[in-house]
Point group: C2
Chain length 288, copies 2
């Protein structure tokens, strides 16, 4: 596995792939890899001729007071995991090269970033789209793969690609969960054993919301109240948002008729976790 | 000369050029071509294997109340001029395809767009950079050529390319002027004969500012006052801005020591014209 740390080296490596007409897959990550990331990587390895995984804790997607300074890092472990899978290259850019102090250009997807995480974290998506676009320019992948746990991020990146006329296939893959249903997240490493127990309330709330809808409930307010009560029943939880929304544009929904996204962000102690289900009446896209 | 109107057709054409390892030049324009544009095109023809000229009156760079509705158009004349020069392709995208109603993604270069035209026209540069980036993604040129009359635009595009890690060489070429010094502009077509006479005050003000500096004046305020008085002496003129600024970042300068940009936007009747000189003591980059 090639380890690449400079932008020019990454561009040269990718150019060589393109010249050989190899289909190139990119999995952008912030590292501290878990089975959710590795699932994205395996998909790329299966679908593409060459796979690049980028690891970059993107400073401009963190707001003031967020967890940038304590975000978990273990590059040696990450590199071993990726090499064992057979990844072709890992791109670990230096912060000062990818985000130099005089960087002035930012990419913003409007409207669909006003909701959910974009409402709670006003700088988040601008930081994501700017760095993802830079990575796309540097790596020039044919395919880029993201997890559906960050479904809003996935759709925001899709919209950016469409609006800016880039030819990159954006693939979203289902959330990988622990045996008790808790979604894998690098931030789970922050949790104490008691907090890890409380974190189960998130998937339990999603399950209970889904059940209501599948049993015919059409009032989003009733579904949200039900999900809120599941979260509130656990100690140490604090809801950031709970939403029943359009699964592509994320506007709140009042009456549930078409497929909806149940989404939430919940603080468990000092750790903010997100999760979501896509729910369709008479069927569902998450594990039923 | 190939006439291309769809994004997919343009991408296919460009891909073919790249596959043939041909160096591709792009001259982005809003049409109603004059000798200034044609000078950019000739440069591309001389320096590149293939040349694309885009013609698109970009609606998102115009603010409310600006001259979008009356911006001059003569596509047949433009196409004949370009074909006669030997241009390989003209790309004339449809507005609804390049700027669909649900487009939500915008690219913004901060700081250097706060000054001059960015101050007077707050939506202007965001509209320019968004459409220019889309054109770059569609055409994928090796070189893109802009005029120095819009020096702020040129530097903003350069900064975007650098910040977003695109490998496109941005070339700026000197302003082409009428025999009396008035800078060529598609908007000159708006001017009545009396207004055309008043428009001479712009280049005359720049000349008088330059003379002061070359004769040792170091106070930007004195230079600006001199330029203001030249404009004010003509009937029907109204100054939007007059600036002595840094030629790459456009912040106002107080004391003139290094090369400076003299820049102005002046309303002549209902027509807003811009022009600039780059002035270095003991030398100058504009016709001396």
């Amino acid at each position: 596995m090639q380890e690449i740390s400079t932008i020019q080296q990454m561009k040269d490596w990718s150019r060589q792939s393109r010249n050989n007409e190899q289909r190139l897959g990119l999995v952008p990550t912030m590292g501290f890899l878990h089975e959710g990331h590795l699932n994205l990587v395996r998909h790329s390895l299966a679908q593409c001729d060459r796979t690049v995984v980028s690891i970059f804790v993107n400073p401009i997607q963190f707001g003031p007071g967020e967890d940038l300074a304590r975000y978990p890092i273990d590059l040696e472990r990450d590199k071993k995991l990726l090499a064992d899978l057979g990844v072709d290259a890992v791109f670990i850019p230096k912060k000062d090269e990818l985000v130099p102090p005089d960087m002035n250009t930012f990419v913003q997807v409007e409207n669909l970033t006003e909701h959910l995480c974009g409402h709670s974290r006003p700088e988040f998506f601008r930081g994501v789209t700017t760095i993802v676009l830079k990575l796309f320019h540097i790596v020039q992948p044919d395919v880029a793969i993201f997890g559906e746990k960050d479904r809003q991020q996935l759709e925001v990146v899709r919209k950016m690609i469409e609006d800016l006329n880039l030819d990159i296939q954006i693939v979203g893959l289902p959330t990988i969960r622990e045996s008790d249903g808790v979604a894998l997240s690098s931030r789970n490493s922050y949790l104490s054993p008691e907090e890890r127990e409380s974190a189960r309330s998130i998937v339990q709330a999603l399950e209970s919301g889904k059940s209501l809808i599948l049993n015919g409930e059409t009032s989003a307010e009733i579904v949200k109240n039900q999900m809120r009560s599941v979260i509130a029943s656990r100690t140490g939880t604090r809801i950031d948002y709970i939403s029943v929304c359009d699964p592509r544009r994320f506007g709140e929904i009042q009456r549930i008729e078409n497929p909806v996204m149940l989404a939430m962000a919940v603080h468990i102690g000092n750790t903010r976790l997100i999760d979501n289900y896509l729910v369709e009446k008479n069927s569902c896209k998450e594990p039923c």
